[in-house]
């Protein structure tokens, strides 16, 4: 079996693992990261997209709130390119207890969240689609955060500091010898072969799967996957992150992201983070809640629905996952279970991913007997050196200097042929679904009706695929897309889906592609 050697092996390529790999590499450790799929295909690529101000936790979870207060400005400085500074509002609607506003204000003040009450009339001027019956509103520094850009910038930086990033490498087993984890047995999901990675320290950053990884070393870590669903609606119905001013519950946040608005979310304890089903009842509830914030919400086009699993570490048995603190935990398995060379970092949220990484690598330093300072709060990520936020017009503007100079492959999201080929080259082999995530292909209103055919053609050409590989990329993609749109098909979205049926099944006859 081929063998690699390293100091630190990171398991998991979500925001946590990518952050840990970057921090470890910046502190001079030889580092390898393995991820079973493409980067950010776990919870990170399926989250709600909110850079928390802390407001959501102000009343009930002050520890988590304070972490957000610290990390929010750090990310605005070091990850500006991944953030759109929309600002956030907490609004009391007709359905909410008006008294909660005072608790909220007090909570913000106690935890240090910058907050300002805004007159309702002004809020309605800024966000005219909001329900006219809102009674109070508070502005906080929420923003949106692009998870793919974030993970990709972290891994790029890690690579620049010498780390190796291995997507499509699944950990099958951990090698334990004399109560010490000495490495991992890893399956290359693409080539189909196995390799061994020997490491002085393994950091388990597998999110909702962290329990499964810990098990491989004989440690019992209870991570309760808390399922949450989100629905992307056509149009930016609002331009600010809108939160209901009430104790956290289902469907109470709308996040504007590029050309769409995403409503979420729920929290249901599930057995397996790989089995996340979305029920019609959940969708209905989401749309009902949306209606309370933005009347006519149901009439907007629902584009896509998806679900993610929160990694909620639970020391004891807890039944309502919403009662688990949203802060994170670093477990040194030597102290906890008598197993050396093994750390688990889990819980938390993407907003605090940097802090989580810092704590995990601090523990790593301690265990490896070195003292090296963390610098991730100072050094901007690649692409964010100028501390300029991403803004909605950025893609249009990037096109402007030479009009018509480049073929646009996706009209909804303004993606060019060059961006597409760069995305393909960023991690080989790329499936269409990977490319979709990397450049947000087919995430706009037409759901890939046009660009998916084009992207398949480009993938075939650029990667020299044979007909079978290209055809199966296309068919897999159609199935994946169907999974996302099927539960919410109605109205104009069904109309679009039927047009796409006519294009793919009618005009192109995809079902009859040769073997």
């Amino acid at each position: 079996m081929p063998t690699l050697e390293t100091e630190v092996l990171v398991v998991g390529g979500g925001s946590t693992g990518a952050g840990v790999a970057r921090d470890a590499a910046m502190r001079g450790f030889a580092t390898i990261l393995v991820e079973r799929g493409d980067l950010a295909t776990g919870t990170t690529g399926r989250f709600h997209g909110l850079l928390h101000s802390g407001g959501r936790y102000a009343v009930k979870d002050p520890v988590a709130a304070r972490e957000c207060v610290v990390e929010n400005p750090i990310l605005r400085r070091t990850a500006a390119d991944c953030i759109e500074d929309t600002g956030g509002l907490f609004v009391s609607t007709r359905w909410d207890d008006p008294g909660f506003g005072d608790d909220f204000l007090r909570g913000c003040q106690a935890t240090g969240i910058p907050v300002e009450e805004v007159p309702v009339a002004e809020v309605l001027r800024r966000e005219p689609r909001l329900d006219q019956g809102i009674t109070r509103a508070f502005a906080v520094p929420d923003a949106n955060l692009d998870p793919w850009k974030l993970v990709s910038a972290c891994t790029r930086s890690a690579t620049e500091y010498g780390a190796r990033i291995l997507p499509y490498h699944r950990v099958l087993g951990l090698e334990v010898s004399d109560d010490k984890v000495v490495g991992a047995r890893v399956h290359n999901e693409v080539a189909g072969d196995e390799l061994e990675i020997r490491a002085e320290l393994v950091i388990n950053a597998a999110g909702a799967w962290a329990g499964q990884i810990a098990n491989l070393a004989g440690c019992v870590v209870t991570v309760l996957p808390g399922k949450g669903i989100m629905i992307a609606m056509n149009h930016r119905l609002v331009n600010t992150v809108i939160n209901r001013c009430k104790p956290p519950s289902d469907g109470d946040i709308i996040v504007p992201i590029r050309t769409v608005s995403v409503i979420g979310t729920t929290d249901v304890r599930v057995a397996d983070p790989d089995e996340l089903e979305v029920t019609p009842g959940e969708i209905d509830e989401m749309l009902d809640e949306g209606e309370k914030l933005v009347p006519g919400f149901r009439e907007a086009r629902a584009l896509r629905v998806w679900a993610g699993a929160r990694p909620l570490y639970t020391p004891d048995d807890v039944t309502d996952t919403r009662d688990v603190s949203r802060t994170h935990t670093v477990l040194d398995h030597a102290k906890r279970d008598g197993v050396e060379g093994f750390i688990t970092i889990t819980g938390g949220k993407t907003t605090t991913f940097r802090l989580m990484a810092e704590h995990a690598v601090d523990t790593a330093c301690e265990k490896l007997g070195v003292n090296r300072r963390c610098r991730t709060h100072e050094e901007p990520l690649p692409g964010s050196e100028e501390e300029r936020f991403y803004w909605l017009g950025a893609r249009v503007r990037a096109q402007e200097p030479v009009p018509n100079s480049e073929e646009i492959i996706c009209e909804c999201e303004l993606i060019t042929r060059r961006q597409l080929t760069e995305a393909i080259a960023r991690g080989r082999p790329a499936g269409l679904d990977d490319v979709r995530r990397r450049v947000r292909l087919a995430m706009g209103p037409c759901q890939g009706g046009f660009c998916i055919y084009r992207a398949t053609g480009i993938l075939h050409e650029f990667e020299h695929l044979d007909h079978q590989a290209a055809n199966s990329a296309l068919l897999d993609f159609l199935q994946e897309r169907w999974k996302g749109v099927q539960p919410i098909l109605h109205g104009d979205q069904l109309r679009q889906a039927r047009l796409d049926d006519w294009i793919f099944q009618g005009l192109l006859a995809v079902e009859h592609l040769p073997e």
């Binding site: 629902a302 169907w482 069904l494 049926d501």
Partner: protein, 430 residues
Amino acid sequence: MTDARPRLADVGYDTVVIGAGLAGLTAALRLAEAGQRVAILAKGVGATHLAPPTIDVLGYANGPVDSPAQALPEFAAANPEHPYRQLSIELVRASLDWFKARLGDHGYRGGLDENFFVPTALGVAKPTALLPETMAAGDLREGGRFVFVGLRGLKDFFPAYLADNVAQTPLPGRASVTTRVVELAPPLGEARDVSSAGFARRFEQPAFRESVLTELRRNLVPGEIVGFPAVLGIGGAREVWRELETRLGHPVFEVPTLPPSVPGIRVYDTMTSALRRQGARLVIGSTVAGAETGNGRLEGVVAHTAGRPLTYRARSFVLATGGFASAGLELDSSGTVREPVFDLPVAGLPGQNAPLFEPGYFDEHALSRAGVAVDESRRPVDDEGAPVYENLHAAGATLAGAVPWREASGNGLSLASGYAAASAILEVIS
């Protein structure tokens, strides 16, 4: 205050057709040819501008269909709710002959007895009953050496991918196919990214054709058959295609691209000029919502154009508003399917609370066959099978019972049912 009541359109019509897709155009043209005063009211153009110009009657029924005439009886028997169950083979055949004659300039070929197998833009050999002469040389059944031409700047056509798939096509007997690709970089001026319609306009310019011919000629080997994306001109397509064939000395054919469909626009243009010649009125940009009724009859329909609503009175009406793709049918967020113009009963739905969609994209979805059910005279019926209005007829993708995008039966059904609706109206009158 302005008066919001609908005004009455100046004249009464014999028939008002709602929808300007292939079904509506067919019904309207037949009626106008028979001497009727006809108005077509349509929200916009129909699927002609998106779909290939082929008339697919039945392409797939447990695998590819070689002969629609032979396959249809069994197909109709196996699908009792299918529109083909009510449309006789003779009628389908008559509608094809009628269409070929009306589109004389396009040199349509084929019929009900044999399907052609022509490549799609993905390189699938797709069965179809009728095709325009600009597509005929693409028939793969006899095999041959095919060259697919790429045009730099046309992002909706990937000849290399297409050619790879065509080369794998299983063919009957000893026929064999070989494929290769020639990429051309014709002059596009400033633009890098040109739509299919943009290329079609360029192909109508002699200088552009010249540059294509010059570049292509030195790349061909005798005996090769040359496939272009379907962008060989709009109004002048026939001349463009002929010139390419003669001056190259090779058979030339078009492969339909993604929307917009240049050859589909040609069909629309030919049919609407014929309609105008027959004195029919075509109002594009008017949405029909609402009706005036009395004694089980439809007296008029209310059309919303810019400005005030307008009532159109007629003796007969044809509903040809298409399926879900053109909002001829709608599904709301509570799971209810509606026919939005007349609120007609919708057939072909699963029982209460049964799922409308399955998890697999290629599964059979319960919603697919939803639509309006009709009687022998092509009139929408209620649950008991009784006509909703004595003088309302329906045609095209609005009808219940088919999954035309999978069966390769879309244009065939629209043509035959539009033709049949006109026949029913003419029968009542005579």
